[in-house]
Amino acid sequence: MFKKNSESRTAYMMIAPAVLIILGLGIFPVGYSIWLSFNKVNPLSFDLDFIGLENYAQILSNAKFWQSIGITLYFCAVSIALQIVLGIMVSMLLNQKFVGRGLVRALILLPWAVPTIVNANLWNWILNSNYGILNRLLMKAGLISEGIPWLSDGKLALNMIILADTWRMLPLVVIMLLAGLQTVSQSVLEATIVDGAGRWKRFWCVYFPVLKPMLLVILVLRTIQAIRVFDIIYVLTKGGPANKTMVISFYSYFETFNYLNYGKGSAIAMIIAVLTLILALVYFRMLKTND
């Protein structure tokens, strides 16, 4: 068998290329970014001028930053709640026996295959206030007489972005939950049916405990994904109308490339990284306890 010493040497050899890449392209840039966030960066020469915590002080005292935090939280909370509730409903539905179930299960994954930017363009077209299909259908049904400006109304825009995001991401949640449902014990299920337990009770007593670990994973993973939402905002609203869809990632991008404030952009990015780090630690813990 192998000796301990040679085992760890083999291990280091095997991980060396990957570790070098992650070191050079991950850890070093993070360190550099932290350093940048303490500086004022000249946008042309990239010369640095150390200003300590000034960038952070400016950000934390800016109402726009807190607004973007609020919008990001709203986006995360509503889109994830919606996707989890709909995900449970659809996966329970697709777990029933019906004709063509295999085909439906294959089709359900398709929206997830649509690239994010294409999805954004697609919903831009669907939600167009003058010619979009949604307004056309609503008009045809006689529900409205004039097109609704879905994306330029401050109250609607963020919710429409959540709708577009949900269309694309729901399949992921459904597929993961369906995998979880396969592990529901048939004998337990039959026992509750014999007991005459109602649907609702059956869900909470049989399905929910099985789905719980998967739901927790989805919750954390989707939160981390939702925090980074950028692409869809870039195409649909660019943070508008009146900053009503200015999520934190877009805010950082805007500070960096519109105002050429690289130091400040870095500082916002580091705040996002810390939030992600906390969630990643939670996730790591969770996987441990799942074992």
């Binding site: 095997m14 991980i15 690239p115 950082s252």
Partner: protein, 291 residues
């Protein structure tokens, strides 16, 4: 006491409701996708005509001809888009290949061998898989600008490799753990080295895992937008998401081309999702729940 007929009615009603729900889910899933396809062949004037027309009166393939240069009069945008398909195939293909090669070897060490700092390194890999791209954008941009690497697809390949690599390590680590150790013991007794065991026994056994991770990695790189937006500022370096986004932002809005380019950009991921569905589902779920 329920009579037999009322029970029968109840059962029929449940079946009708079940199929109704399935139809609603199908409409929600397929509707936007089909609308994208229909819009791509809809005559331009009918797209921008007020009223409540839903389906086109005629079919036009003009936009596809423009994109693929069949009528010989491709616009500048169409040329950029055509080039972007090639760029995306290269970027996604090469970064997936690198990540799988380096990542699968490293993941083996993580899953089977004992060495110092294993847990910490595994957490670092996971953290970089979860870190929002915006967090590293500024340092990458400054490093790239200083070394003259902005505007080349090689830069995108390097950046994407870093992110996908972390993902591959994370998922393959979980996958290897599900392979019984007895298999390897046999190889070791036969006198294989660690690497020999990995190459002759683990790699063939883990083939489905490689398919899953490979397909998902390719999709991730295909979908990547933020870095591509910043690093592909020259027409020759644009990837599909960037080229697609420009149909709606840079040159004014052309919904017809937005939908046509969207269809083209969706074909490869859609086929991947359909053909490798079972692998993709296992790749999505196995990495997420098992440590």
């Amino acid at each position: 006491m329920k009579t037999r007929t009322s029970r029968k009615i109840k059962k029929t009603a449940a079946t009708v409701l079940l199929y109704l729900a399935v139809i609603i889910v199908l409409l929600w899933t397929m509707g936007p996708l089909l609308w994208m396809a229909v819009s791509s062949i809809m005559p331009g004037r009918e797209m921008l005509e007020s009223g409540t027309r839903i389906l086109p009166s005629a079919v036009t393939l003009e936009r596809y001809a423009v994109i693929f240069g069949i009528d010989g009069q491709a616009t500048q945008q169409a040329l950029v888009f055509r080039r972007s398909i090639l760029n995306s195939v290269i970027v996604a293909g090469v970064s997936t290949l690198f990540s799988i090669v380096f990542g699968s070897v490293a993941a083996y060490a993580f899953s089977r061998l004992m060495f110092k700092g294993k847990k910490a390194l595994l957490f670092v890999a996971m953290f970089f898989q979860l870190l929002p791209p915006i967090s590293l954008l500024v340092p990458y941009y400054i490093m790239g600008s200083r070394t003259g690497m902005v505007g080349h697809i090689i830069t995108l390949i390097i950046i994407d490799t870093n992110f996908i690599l972390a993902y591959v390590i994370w998922v393959m680590n979980g996958y290897y753990k599900s392979i019984p150790r007895d298999l390897e013991e046999a190889g070791r007794i036969d006198g294989c080295t660690r690497f020999g065991v990995f190459w002759r026994i683990i790699v063939p056994t883990a083939a489905p895992g490689f398919v899953a991770v490979g397909a998902l990695s390719f999709l991730m790189a295909w979908d990547e937008f933020l870095y591509a937006l910043v690093f592909s500022q020259s027409d020759s370096a644009k990837t599909i998401p960037v080229a697609v986004s420009e149909f709606s932002t840079k040159y004014g809005v052309d919904y017809g081309m937005m939908m046509t380019s969207g269809v083209v950009a969706t074909i490869i991921p859609l086929l991947l999702a359909l053909f490798f569905q079972r692998y993709i589902v296992s790749g999505l779920t196995s990495g997420a729940v098992k440590e």
